[in-house]
């Protein structure tokens, strides 16, 4: 008797979980994904900006810059994948997507610039990349 009860509960919970997964995305659900992606990207962007600024002042080892940039880039690509994989439920979501997605791809590119500029010891490029990351962080912070 207890076993059947247990098995029944497991089946109901499993079906519930599958059902939730199959439900179409709502506008609110899409917005929340977009905001999370923007937030995570902003975090990676600002973290890389600090790394770039430290590199400008000669405070970090190149091996460290490479790894820090690579991690930040991975975070941004995860954010991009999350957003791209989410089904677009309506026109307002489409507008949000068109607004956020380019910011994310630009972030990935500028984060990359930090590693390139730092490894070629191109101070001008590095300082440009750092400035652009600051601007991007501001834009990303505006996503609500």
């Amino acid at each position: 008797m207890r076993r059947w009860l247990l098995a029944g509960t497991v089946v109901v919970v499993a079906l519930g979980a599958i059902g939730l997964g199959l439900l179409p995305t709502t506008e609110d659900g899409f917005r929340s994904t977009a905001v999370t992606s923007a937030r995570d990207t902003r975090s990676a962007v600002l973290s890389t900006r600090e790394v770039g600024a430290a590199a400008l002042r000669g405070r970090v080892l190149q091996s460290y810059v490479n790894i820090a940039v690579q991690r930040a880039r991975d975070q941004v690509s995860t954010a991009i994948t999350d957003l791209v994989d989410t089904e677009v439920p309506g026109p307002s979501s489409q507008r949000l997507r068109d607004e956020v997605l380019p910011m994310l791809t630009r972030s990935a590119a500028r984060i990359n610039d930090v590693a390139t500029a730092s490894s070629t010891e191109d101070r001008d490029a590095l300082s440009r990349a750092v400035d652009e990351l600051s601007g991007l962080a501001g834009e990303l912070g505006g996503v609500r």
């Binding site: 975090s43 973290s47 405070r59 970090v60 080892l61 460290y64 991690r71 912070g141």
Partner: protein, 409 residues
């Protein structure tokens, strides 16, 4: 003079050995998100580990047996087995996380992907367990782990708004933009990081490996009551640097390189090099301790010959468990699961297993059959029982908080 030197060395080792991957991750992540608003949990956790490590040291010194050798006698073979399975799995997860930490520390120094370092790191960990003398092993990595003091230096160099940090520390409330479940989840993680079960397995078995007697009680207590709180101070240093640099920016800490960034900003290349060395020493030392602890728990349940005082071929079952545990730890990492993720899961798992580890210590430390006149004092029991209640609450809350907050999402 020689004695003073030995005591100092022991305390320094305890400080350096206190911090492991769990402490590094939990403290940096919470510092970046909550500032010092969860610092109180570190204080509560450090007092807890002091209370219980002292009991373990006393049991080892007086009865000549590590605490977990005695658990089965007092709880019976069935509950003892449940206890063993929970404690072993928590230790195994932690071992995997520590090996991952070693690999990432080497990655930061070389730019070579950490997954390539995982098998090498694990092999070196095993060779050290196999070949190096116990005291030598503990001393070297404990002392090298002291380089994490650089976090405290960096915090001072960063000249943070001290008043603001202190304000956060004394008003432990959920800040705006965060919910109570996330706050609770990180409180659980920090508490588990301070009281990770392997620390007491290792501490009590280590006491037996170093052949403590009643004469060593004072030294053991000094190590615990001075060494651990100072180790906790290093943890707070990690939290403070993250709070200073990352909290105002809204940056979340997701990887070990970010944990080191505030030090690089404050102290430059040399500071960064010292931090990477500190990461390496702390995680490598903890990998040795968790690897041995995995062997200790199983061997002590079954009564097998264990430890590093005998030749490996005379403790074949013990050494096999250590070897297999390291291999399982490597396998978990080679699934390419992020080591930081494994660390966070290991902390949750540890939190759930805490009562299994700490209840038996309290029972054994009150047993006149083993301890004679050295049973727990009233103070020790009052503190022990108080902490047991906290531990039970943490253990029950851990998984629900993990689910509600989505691992702190």
């Amino acid at each position: 003079m020689k004695r003073v030197f030995a005591i100092t060395l022991g305390i320094l080792t305890a400080i350096g050995g206190f911090v492991d991957i769990g402490d590094l991750v939990a403290n940096a992540v919470t510092g970046a998100r909550f500032g010092m608003r969860l610092a109180w949990v570190v204080v509560v956790g450090v007092i807890g580990i002091c209370v219980y490590a002292e009991m373990c040291g006393r049991v080892a010194a007086v009865s000549g047996r590590p605490v977990f050798d005695l658990v089965r006698e007092r709880l019976g073979p069935r509950i003892g087995l449940t206890n063993l399975i929970g404690s072993y799995l928590a230790t195994l997860f932690t071992l995997s996380a520590e090996i991952g930490g070693v690999a990432i520390a080497v990655e930061l120094a070389t730019s070579v992907h950490y997954l390539l370092w995982v098998p090498i790191a694990a092999f070196v960990v095993w060779v050290v367990i196999w070949r190096v003398k116990f005291e030598m092993m503990e001393r070297i990595f404990g002392l090298a782990g002291l380089s994490l003091v650089v976090f405290v230096v960096a915090l001072i160099q960063l000249a943070p708004p001290w008043g603001q940090l202190a304000g956060q520390a004394v008003t432990p409330v959920v800040p705006a933009g965060e919910d109570w479940a996330t706050y609770g989840f990180f409180a659980v993680a920090l508490f588990a990081a301070a009281l990770t079960p392997y620390e007491v397995f290792f501490f009590s078995s280590g006491g037996v490996e170093e052949r403590w007697t009643r004469k060593d009680l004072v030294v053991s207590r000094l190590n615990v009551f001075i060494g651990f709180p100072l180790g906790g101070l290093l943890s707070l240093g990690v939290m403070g640097t993250a709070a200073t640099l990352f909290l105002p920016l809204g940056v979340r800490v997701e990887s070990l390189d970010q944990v080191a960034l505030p030090v690089a900003v404050a102290l430059g290349k040399l500071g960064l090099a010292v931090v990477i060395l500190g990461f390496f020493a702390a995680t490598f030392g903890a990998a040795l301790e968790t690897g041995l602890s995995a062997g200790y728990t199983i061997a002590q349940y079954f009564g097998w010959q264990w430890g590093k005082l005998v030749r490996p071929r005379e403790a074949a079952r013990f050494h096999t468990v250590v070897l297999v545990s390291i291999l399982i730890g490597v396998a978990m990492l080679l699934t390419t699961t992020d080591p930081i993720m494994i660390t966070e899961y290991s902390l949750v798992f540890s939190a759930v297993a805490l009562p299994l580890t700490y209840l038996p210590i309290l029972i054994v430390a009150n047993d006149r059959d083993y301890l004679g006149d050295q049973v727990n004092s009233r103070t020790a029991n009052a503190l022990g029982v108080t902490y047991l209640v906290i531990i039970l609450v943490v253990a029950v809350a851990a998984v629900p908080l993990m689910i509600i907050s989505g691992m702190g999402g």
